[in-house]
């Protein structure tokens, strides 16, 4: 059998989203052991989230409110779980408000230009009939929903909250779907902006500034975080910085705006798998009370499974040799080519902080050498989820190497 077609499936987010769904289903089985019917509702939500993620690079503006609503509903469904309810409430507050503000920005642009379709608005604005303060205020507002859904600073805390508060079966797919929807929102809003250079310049400044804020705030946050789930959340926020950097680079003079959607596909594919593996791993990572605390059960009983999960965490942080490192490198090269030195330096700071954090996490996971066997076992479903994500990332790396990046 020719392996190339199978690997080609990894070049879009469809198969990675499917693997993330499979891992989520395994974790769901673990959470609802002995109650298969109770798992049907959450499974349906996972399927929808995976679909949203798979379609994100080609999706329009409708995906953002649908994904936000779906995640909030899936969280709120488990009424007995207070953390779920709190996360749902927070998401509704921040995303509902962001979407409302962005729609206000869109409406302002429509009013100012007199046309509805985005592509036509740039042409009208280029005529210079609309006062500059109007479109320069409306454009950042229109991008706000995407920035919030990406989890960019100062909205990076919802991602960490979700990873800490939501069940491990739901959190990674929910975050990946929301982030991909946010990136798709920005890509949609900026479609064709190359035809209006002043707008492209403003959008590039806004996106680069947002990327700098993401990298610096996430780097600062990572240093002070102790809980593995929150660390994964902040690493996910750094992925938002990569998306914003990629989008900003495509707006540099000479780059085609169509490239924005083109770059989202590998980013979303990687996000789905890396978040799935890292989130599952985080649940089995200890939060050491002292430097000489023993390691967690996973690394003491099943070090190979732990390493499979670590590959996902490493990829999220861009450790060289992982597919995530390629995304970090692409973002750095893009910023370098676009002349965004400030964003580039911030990216470097974010990368170093991410790298240091995952190395610290590895050491805490292994802990101090101990002869006492761990008390609790690690269920096979969790280990299978780790292997699924790890194997998916390896396949992704191989596919990118053989077929080239989409």
């Amino acid at each position: 059998m020719n392996a190339a077609p199978a690997l080609a499936l990894f070049l879009t987010p469809a198969l990675p989203a499917g693997l993330a769904l499979a891992a989520g289903a395994l974790l769901l089985r673990l959470e609802h052991r002995g109650r298969p019917l109770a798992a049907l509702g959450p499974l349906a939500a996972l399927v929808l989230l995976a679909l949203a993620l798979a379609r994100a690079p080609l999706a329009g503006p409708a995906l953002a409110p649908l994904a936000a609503g779906l995640v909030a509903a899936a969280l709120a469904r488990d009424r007995a779980n207070l953390l779920h309810s709190e996360c749902a409430l927070k998401l509704l507050w921040v995303m509902g408000g962001a979407l409302a503000l962005s729609h206000a920005g869109l409406s302002l642009l429509t009013l100012a230009t007199g046309v509805g379709p985005v592509g036509e608005q740039w042409g009208v604005l280029r005529l210079g009939l609309t006062p500059q303060p109007v479109w320069s205020a409306a454009l950042p507002l229109a991008l706000l929903a995407g920035l919030v859904m990406l989890g960019g600073a100062p909205f990076h805390f919802w991602v960490a909250d979700l990873f800490q508060g939501a069940r491990p079966s739901l959190a990674p797919l929910a975050v990946a779907a929301l982030q991909a929807a946010g990136a798709a929102w920005i890509a949609w809003r900026l479609g064709g902006i190359a035809g209006f250079p002043e707008g492209a310049t403003l959008a590039r400044v806004v996106l680069a500034t947002a990327a700098i804020a993401v990298f610096l705030a996430s780097a600062g946050t990572l240093v002070s975080q102790r809980r593995p789930e929150r660390r994964v959340g902040t690493l996910a926020s750094l992925q938002a910085g990569l998306a914003l950097s990629g989008l900003a680079a495509t707006l540099a003079p000479g780059a085609g705006a169509h490239e924005a959607a083109w770059r989202l596909a590998p980013w979303a594919a990687h996000l789905a798998l890396a978040l799935t593996g890292a989130a599952a791993l985080a649940r089995f990572m200890p939060v050491p009370a002292s430097p000489d605390a023993p390691g967690g059960a996973l690394f003491r009983r099943h070090p190979a499974s732990g390493l499979a999960g670590l590959f996902a965490l490493f990829s999220l942080a861009g450790v060289p040799g992982t597919p995530g490192a390629q995304l970090w490198l692409d973002a750095a090269r893009g910023l370098s080519a676009a002349g965004q030195t400030g964003a580039l330096l911030a990216l470097g700071a974010g990368w170093v902080a991410a790298f240091a954090t995952v190395m610290q996490q590895v050491r805490e996971a292994f802990g101090v050498a101990s002869r006492t066997p761990p008390e609790r076992a690690v269920p096979w479903e969790a280990r299978a989820a780790l292997w699924t994500a790890g194997a998916g990332l390896v396949a992704l790396a191989v596919a990118w190497r053989i077929a080239g990046r989409p």
Partner: protein
């Protein structure tokens, strides 16, 4: 029948393998290999620390070793992301990060200066282990020299830091009463002087490596021997041989550096020469005066104690010196007799001073642990006072450095506090923050 259990190497073996692999990669060409090597070295220390008798003490103590690794990863990433024909800032980032790693391992940065005062995390080899780090630091600086020698301000800053380190290491080696601790600091001094040799481009790379191997190798051998019977100090002949070996090797390392340093820095040359000559003289003094013959209680050598190896090792240690000096003399400009003698003077004066001080001390008067000698003559009183002064100067400088470093860290952390206070976790704050950012997003472009 009992099934064969898979062999599980203990922490000592695992850490040793990681350390060896780390060194091999550091010596390999390229930034990726260097970064991986530094990471493996840090992992080796962590592996030993987590299995040590006191992990709560050793794990935080050796945590800083990840910093040089991170610096090398950053240098590698900078080189990978740089466009073709990258401009100055890219090269400065690459050079600065690479040099940072080398200097920090070499104790040339104020952040991790005193590690050579502390024993390593492995019980059996604890006093020897920290000596690995300055060696790694020099290897990083030497291997990556093409990445940082071309960036003038990075090179000059590195030279200044190495000079300060050489002086501090000499002072500390002089001040410490324990010979093992003194040897560790002598190795730091060797690395710093050899780094300076590289920074001023005094000799070709092969020659600087050979000279460092001779000087540092001799000290490393002595340090290793101290942990297994102090064989090189047994008997007057052997101790004299080793005294001459370390003196010669250190003098050979310093000589081309002193020759070049005066010419390299133009008008400031004499100042640099004097600043470099002082630690060279002190190192020579310590090499000669502190190498005290250990009392031998046995009439016949016990087999397997390493006597034969201790007799042969000086040959290996000194073998590189003439080769390196020959390479240097062939490749460099001719040197006048006056300059050559002047450059040799600090080591000669220090060594002769050490010989004068050392003569008259009977074997056994200073024990291996080098307790305070029971002498009350004027020389001994001066020696004690000088050692105390050296100790105070070292502590003053390191305390000052520490204070400055802490202040910088405090300043860097200052913005983090309001960042944390920005969000207390209440859901309502999400909306407030959102409105705030939206207002900013609207107002800022208007102001522009």
């Amino acid at each position: 029948m009992t099934p064969l259990a898979a062999p599980r190497p203990g922490p000592r073996v695992t850490g040793g393998l990681l350390c060896a692999a780390g060194f091999a990669l550091l010596a390999w060409d390229g930034l990726l290999a260097a970064a991986l090597g530094a990471e493996l070295l840090a992992t080796a220390f962590w592996w030993w620390a987590r299995a040590s008798d006191d992990p709560a003490r050793h794990l935080p103590r050796w945590e800083w070793l990840r910093r040089p690794a991170a610096a090398l990863w950053l240098a590698m990433a900078g080189a990978a992301a740089a466009p073709a024909g990258a401009p100055g800032p890219w090269r400065a980032l690459e050079a600065g990060a690479g040099v940072w790693a080398g200097l920090e391992l070499l104790a040339a940065l104020p952040l991790a200066r005193p590690f050579s005062d502390l024993p390593g995390p492995l019980l059996a080899l604890g006093p020897w282990l920290p000596a690995v780090l300055p060696a790694a630091g020099f290897v990083v600086l030497w291997r990556l020299q093409e990445h940082w020698l071309g960036v003038a301000h990075v090179r000059d800053a590195a030279a200044a830091l190495l000079l300060v380190t050489a002086a501090l290491a000499a002072l500390r080696a002089f001040a410490r009463r324990r010979w093992t601790a003194g040897l560790r600091w002598l190795m730091v001094g060797d690395g710093a002087l050899a780094g300076l040799l590289v920074a001023v481009r005094a000799v070709p790379p092969a020659a600087s490596l050979l000279l460092w191997l001779s000087a540092s190798g001799a000290h490393a051998f002595l340090l290793g021997a101290e942990l297994s019977g102090a064989v090189p100090r047994r008997g007057p002949v052997l101790s004299a041989i080793w005294r001459a070996t370390t003196w010669t090797a250190s003098a050979a390392l310093a000589w081309p550096m002193l020759l070049a340093v005066g010419a390299r820095f133009g008008a400031h040359g004499p100042l640099w020469f004097l600043a470099a000559a002082a630690p060279v003289a002190l190192v020579a003094w310590v090499n000669v005066a502190r190498m005290v013959e250990a009392p031998e209680r046995r009439a016949v050598d016990r087999p397997g104690t390493g006597i034969a190896l201790s007799r042969v090792a000086p040959l290996f240690a000194l073998a590189g010196v003439p080769v390196a000096l020959a390479i240097a003399s062939w490749s460099g400009p001719p040197v006048g007799w006056g300059a050559a003698l002047l450059a040799l003077a600090p080591a000669a004066v220090g060594g002769l001073g050490g010989l004068l001080t050392f003569r008259g001390i009977a074997p056994g008067a200073i024990a291996a642990a080098a307790d305070e000698p029971a002498r009350t003559d004027r020389l001994a009183v001066w020696g004690r006072a000088a050692r105390q002064t050296a100790r105070r100067v070292f502590r003053l400088v390191t305390a000052l450095e520490r204070t400055i470093a802490d202040r910088v860290v405090w300043l860097l952390r200052l913005p983090a506090a309001p960042l944390r206070d920005l969000h207390s976790g209440d859901a309502q704050e999400y909306l407030l923050l959102l409105v705030g950012v939206a207002v900013l997003a609207v107002v800022l472009p208007l102001l522009g």
